[in-house]
Symmetry: C2
Subunit: 231 residues, 2 copies
């Protein structure tokens, strides 16, 4: 972390989503699919339902920790399929904490840091979980800050998350970019006034009703190659 | 629709979710599964994603019509699976408009009406779509009002929907019950102060992190058999 005087040229602040954008969720998906009768597509329905229920809490004024939502939705999904979950399985939070980075991430983030960008993690994971995740994946030292929605008690893409994150970093929207592999995340950030980059990870697609992102890239190395300073 | 004088005894106002709670979605699910490579579980992931994206709009201040969200999420889901959608398929809104009632519904609603309850539909479908749906299923004459979230431009379970619906009917929360086959819907209504009944339709399960419903019933006939006046 370096101190920048007002006269230092600034490249801008990049906010990174963590799950799927930086970290590879395939091991988690396999573990969930195995618990739901060895059906890979059930893991996808489970994760979509986790996202849905994070917002259910947001709009009903009842915030729950992301790991607790993940477990509760797994329980509900198992009940829907008439499946009894194994009693002694590894807690999902433990699997989520140990997900590896996608192969491009360390190199891409390092390049962006060298280009003068301030790197911030902005995640739906709890603060404690996010710290564990980025440390375990070897990425924590690259980030100036790790910001969790836990601080505002509403989930992305609620606009209050992005507004709080920008304020926390002391930056105006024009100097900020949200980088994520989910259309709803870059869509929300765009509605909050940020610039946005969609990382087209395998199996991800943009949401047609959200505003278009400023950039679409294959991975973080590609982002580093084509980004231009925001300020 | 009858006029009640203040001295008429009141049984209470029942708000009914429409999709899945009253209407059988299996034909819709089959049509969606067929378009997504004949994989039944993809239809479930699609509907969960429709629900997620209805709330994505809600928390980003961008309301879209439910039918438009359904089509947009189908397009996105197809892109995720690398599937090209047929160009001349029946629009989803047309299929959604023609879904049949579950076999218990007409009899259950009629019994509830005879017991003096005021029946109101409260749905995430647009007003025009909901009118079509309930007319097509032969249920429209049983309802005093058909209320759509379109009026408040946020989706269930945002608490503002339930608060608006109760105000619209001139009722206090203690005289109101929300009836739905989705844990997140009865959970939201409960947070808004209503009584709630969960209809345990096939493949539906309660969400462990939501407040418990007041009643869990197998269908609408069972609800009519065991409900007691709310006021």
């Amino acid at each position: 972390m370096t101190h920048s005087s007002p006269s230092t040229p600034c490249s801008g602040t990049l906010f990174f989503d963590v799950n799927e954008t930086l970290l590879d969720m395939s091991g988690l998906n396999q573990a969930v699919a195995q618990r739901l009768g060895n059906r890979p597509e059930r893991a996808e329905a489970w994760f979509t339902s986790v996202l849905h229920h994070s917002l259910v809490g947001t709009v009903t004024g009842s915030f729950h920790n992301f790991g607790d939502i993940a477990e509760a939705v797994l329980e509900m999904t198992a009940a829907r399929y008439g499946i009894t979950l194994p009693e002694e399985a590894t807690p999902l939070a433990e699997i989520i904490a140990a997900m590896p980075a996608h192969p491009d991430v360390a190199r891409g983030l390092t390049a962006l840091q060298q280009q003068g960008y301030t790197l911030v993690a902005l995640t739906n994971s709890s603060a404690a979980l996010a710290e564990k995740q980025l440390s375990s994946a070897g990425l924590a030292p690259l980030f100036t800050r790790i910001l969790s929605v836990e601080q505002v008690q509403v989930y992305k893409p609620d606009l209050r998350v992005y507004q709080w994150a920008m304020k926390e970093m002391g930056q105006s929207a024009s100097a900020c970019m949200m980088v994520a592999a989910h259309g709803w995340d870059v869509g929300g950030a765009k509605c909050a006034g940020m610039k946005t980059a969609f990382v087209a990870r395998r199996g991800q697609a943009l949401y047609p009703l959200a505003p278009s992102p400023d950039r679409v890239v294959d991975d973080i190395v590609a982002l580093a190659a084509e980004i231009t300073p925001l300020c």
